[in-house]
């Protein structure tokens, strides 16, 4: 038994339907968890792990 923070306050997870999923691509690894109550989404949390960065290529110009 665990308490889940929902749009209706804290609820026992045994009363809720849990759905999970993930996305893994070149840019990110994302995992999400949802809790539903009678067909209504009452909690959704997401964890995104960024894989890509932003890159600047510094160049020193040549003379002539």
């Amino acid at each position: 038994m665990a308490l889940i923070t929902t749009t209706k306050g804290e609820m026992d997870d045994s009363l809720l339907e849990k759905r999970e999923g993930s996305v893994d691509n070149d840019n990110e690894l994302t995992r999400w968890v949802e809790y539903w109550l009678d067909g209504e989404l009452v909690h959704r949390s997401v964890h995104v792990h960024l894989k890509k960065n932003v890159f600047a290529d510094g160049m020193a110009a040549m003379f002539g």
Partner: protein, 151 residues
């Protein structure tokens, strides 16, 4: 021996610490890192390389989220390896107890100390949050994977 044209690696790292100033501003204090923030943006926003500063236009809004976002943990100074200077926030960005019902897919890192000037824009898959937590974990802080790299 021969000489090789290059941008000095030390200079790249020093760009990240504002050691060099080719212009006239800003006047900087000594010894203190700036404070950086991370704000979330809707999928309908238009942040990109042309973004110059934090803006409320297109920023997410919802229960538990404060305009401007959250402070970035900056406990690791910029460094270099090989010819690449790099920096990564030293902790995940965690937006706790939020409800963001309109889809968002972008985080803007900006410098609150320096008039909210933009640093970088990072995108990810479209998300919503309902009475939950949004966690953005950084890539490893290395010369090939760090969040910001100058090579």
């Amino acid at each position: 021996m021969s000489n090789t044209q290059a941008m000095c690696t030390s200079f790249k790292t020093e760009l990240m610490t504002a050691t060099h100033n080719f212009g006239t501003a800003p006047t900087r204090g000594t010894g203190t890192a700036d404070t950086f923030y991370a704000a979330l943006y809707l999928t309908s926003a238009t942040l990109n390389a042309s973004t110059t500063a934090y803006t409320t236009s297109g920023e997410v809004s919802g229960l538990g989220y404060s305009a401007g976002g959250i402070a970035v943990t900056n406990a690791t100074a910029p460094t270099s390896s090989g010819t690449t200077a790099y920096w990564t926030p030293s902790a995940s960005l965690v937006y706790t107890g939020v409800t963001l019902t309109t889809a968002f897919d972008t985080v803007l890192i900006y410098n609150q100390t320096q008039s909210n000037k933009a640093v970088s824009v990072h995108t990810f898959g479209s998300q919503t949050i309902t009475a939950g937590t949004f966690t953005l974990t950084m890539p490893a802080n290395t010369n090939t994977t760090a969040l910001l790299r100058l090579a």
